[in-house]
C-alpha cells in the first residue's frame, strides 16, 4: 500500500468522524446539543497554584471580570432596600462571590437565583425558585436573551450557583449576563452542595 493511500484513509477517517458528529449533533436533544464554535473566554487561563486555592477554600479565581472579592457584610435586615445596600451593583466586574449566609439572606428576600449546572442535574435537585441556566447546553444564549427581554432591574442582585468547589459554571454564566448588562451578579461559591449541607430547602423537578 502506498503512502498516499495511507494518508487518504486517515483523511477519510477524520471526515467520516466529522460527518457522524454533525449528524449526531443535529439529532441530539436540546440539552445534549453543542454549538460548533465555543465562546469560553477563559479556556486557556490557568488559575494560581491549586494548593493556595485549597488553603483559602475559595472557588477558582479569574481575571478582573470575574475576580473573587470579599463577600458583603452578613445579613442585617430583610428589606429590599437593605439588599441593594448590602449587595450593590458592581459594574466594574462580572461577579462577586458570596457565602451561604449571604445566599440564604437573598433567598429569604425572594431574589432571583440561577442554576448554572446541567439541566439533568438541576432536575435532580435545586434551590426552590431557581431557574435553570445550564451554561454547557446549546440554548444558553436564548435563555440569557429571554432573561434580558423580561426587563428586570439590572442592578438588582441575582444569585448564580453551580456545584461549589472548583465549579466555574456560575462564573461563566455571570460573564454572559454581565455582557448583556446585568450588574449585580453574585456567585454563591459553595453552590448547591453548600446549600444542602446547611439543610436549606431544596426542590426537585424540571422548570420552576
Amino acid at each position: 500500500m502506498s503512502e498516499r493511500s495511507g494518508w487518504r484513509r486517515v483523511l477519510i477517517l477524520i471526515l467520516a468522524a466529522a460527518a457522524c458528529a454533525a449528524v449526531s449533533n443535529l439529532a441530539a436533544s436540546r440539552e445534549r446539543r453543542l454549538p460548533w464554535v465555543g465562546s469560553y473566554t477563559r479556556a486557556l487561563e490557568v488559575e494560581p497554584a491549586a494548593s493556595s486555592k485549597e488553603a483559602s477554600g475559595a472557588a477558582a479565581p479569574g481575571p478582573a471580570t470575574t475576580a473573587s472579592v470579599s463577600p458583603p457584610a452578613p445579613a442585617a435586615g430583610n428589606t429590599a432596600a437593605g439588599a441593594s445596600q448590602r449587595f450593590p451593583p458592581h459594574a466594574d466586574r462580572a461577579s462577586a462571590e458570596i457565602g451561604t449566609d449571604e445566599a440564604e439572606a437573598l433567598f429569604r428576600e425572594g431574589r432571583l437565583f440561577l442554576d448554572a449546572r446541567r439541566s439533568s442535574v438541576y432536575a435532580d435537585g435545586h434551590i426552590p425558585g431557581a431557574r435553570s441556566f445550564p451554561v454547557w447546553e446549546s440554548d444558553i444564549g436564548d435563555r440569557v436573551k429571554a432573561l434580558y427581554e423580561e426587563g428586570l432591574d439590572q442592578n438588582a442582585p441575582i444569585v448564580l450557583y453551580c456545584s461549589g468547589g472548583d465549579c466555574e459554571d456560575s462564573h461563566m454564566l455571570a460573564e454572559k449576563l454581565y455582557m448583556v448588562g446585568f450588574n449585580a451578579l453574585y456567585v454563591y461559591k459553595d453552590g448547591f452542595p453548600g446549600w444542602q449541607k446547611r439543610s436549606l430547602p431544596v426542590t426537585k423537578g424540571g422548570k420552576p
Binding site: 477517517l13 445534549r32 453543542l34 460548533w36
Partner: protein, 167 residues
C-alpha cells in the same frame, strides 16, 4: 555441550513472538474495544465532554466544542477499525496519536499542579478530592503509555503480511 546459536537468533525469536498473528489479533481487538468503550459516553453527552476538555485549559475556547463533538467519533471509528481489522495500520497510528495527545494533556496539567477529571471513560465529574484526582492522573499516564506499547506492537506486526485477508 550446548549448541551455539548464530548471533541475533534470540532477538529474532523475540521479535517473531511479538509480531506473531496470535498476539497481534488479541492486542488489536483489545485496543479497539478500549477505544470504542471510551468513545460511547462522550458521544452520548457532548456538553459534559466539552466541559472536561475545557477543564484541561489547553484548547482555545472557540475549538472546545468542535473537539468535543468530533474526537469521540474519531475514537469510535479508530476502535471499530481495529476490532474489525480494516485499515489496521492507519487506525493503529491514529490511536497512537490520540494517546500521545492524552498523555501530553494529562502530563501538562500534572506539571502545572492542576487536578482535572480525566474524562477518559466517564464524562461526569465524580466529585473526587484533589489528591485522588492527581493519583488517578498518574495512573492514566501509565495506562496510556501501556496502550502506546500495544499500538507499537500492532504497527510492528502490520509491517509484515500476518493476515493478508485483512489488509
Amino acid at each position: 555441550m550446548a549448541e551455539t546459536q548464530p548471533a541475533g537468533h534470540e532477538g529474532r525469536e523475540a521479535l517473531s513472538f511479538l509480531t506473531h498473528p496470535w498476539l497481534t489479533i488479541r492486542v488489536q481487538i483489545g485496543l479497539g474495544v478500549i477505544f470504542v468503550v471510551a468513545a460511547l459516553p462522550k458521544i452520548a453527552d457532548p456538553p459534559s465532554f466539552a466541559h472536561m476538555i475545557y477543564n484541561y485549559r489547553l484548547v482555545p475556547g472557540a475549538l472546545v466544542n468542535a473537539l468535543a463533538l468530533v474526537m469521540p467519533w474519531v475514537e469510535l471509528l479508530v476502535g471499530l477499525a481495529l476490532v474489525l481489522g480494516v485499515w489496521r495500520r492507519q487506525a493503529a497510528a491514529f490511536a497512537g496519536l490520540l494517546l500521545l495527545v492524552f498523555i501530553v494533556a494529562i502530563g501538562a496539567n500534572l506539571a502545572r499542579g492542576r487536578a482535572v477529571d480525566c474524562g477518559c471513560f466517564d464524562v461526569h465529574s465524580a466529585g473526587k478530592s484533589r489528591e485522588e484526582l492527581l493519583t488517578e492522573m498518574r495512573w492514566v499516564l501509565i495506562r496510556d503509555t501501556a496502550m502506546l506499547l500495544m499500538v507499537a506492537q500492532v504497527l510492528a506486526a502490520s509491517r509484515k503480511p500476518v493476515r493478508p485477508a485483512l489488509r
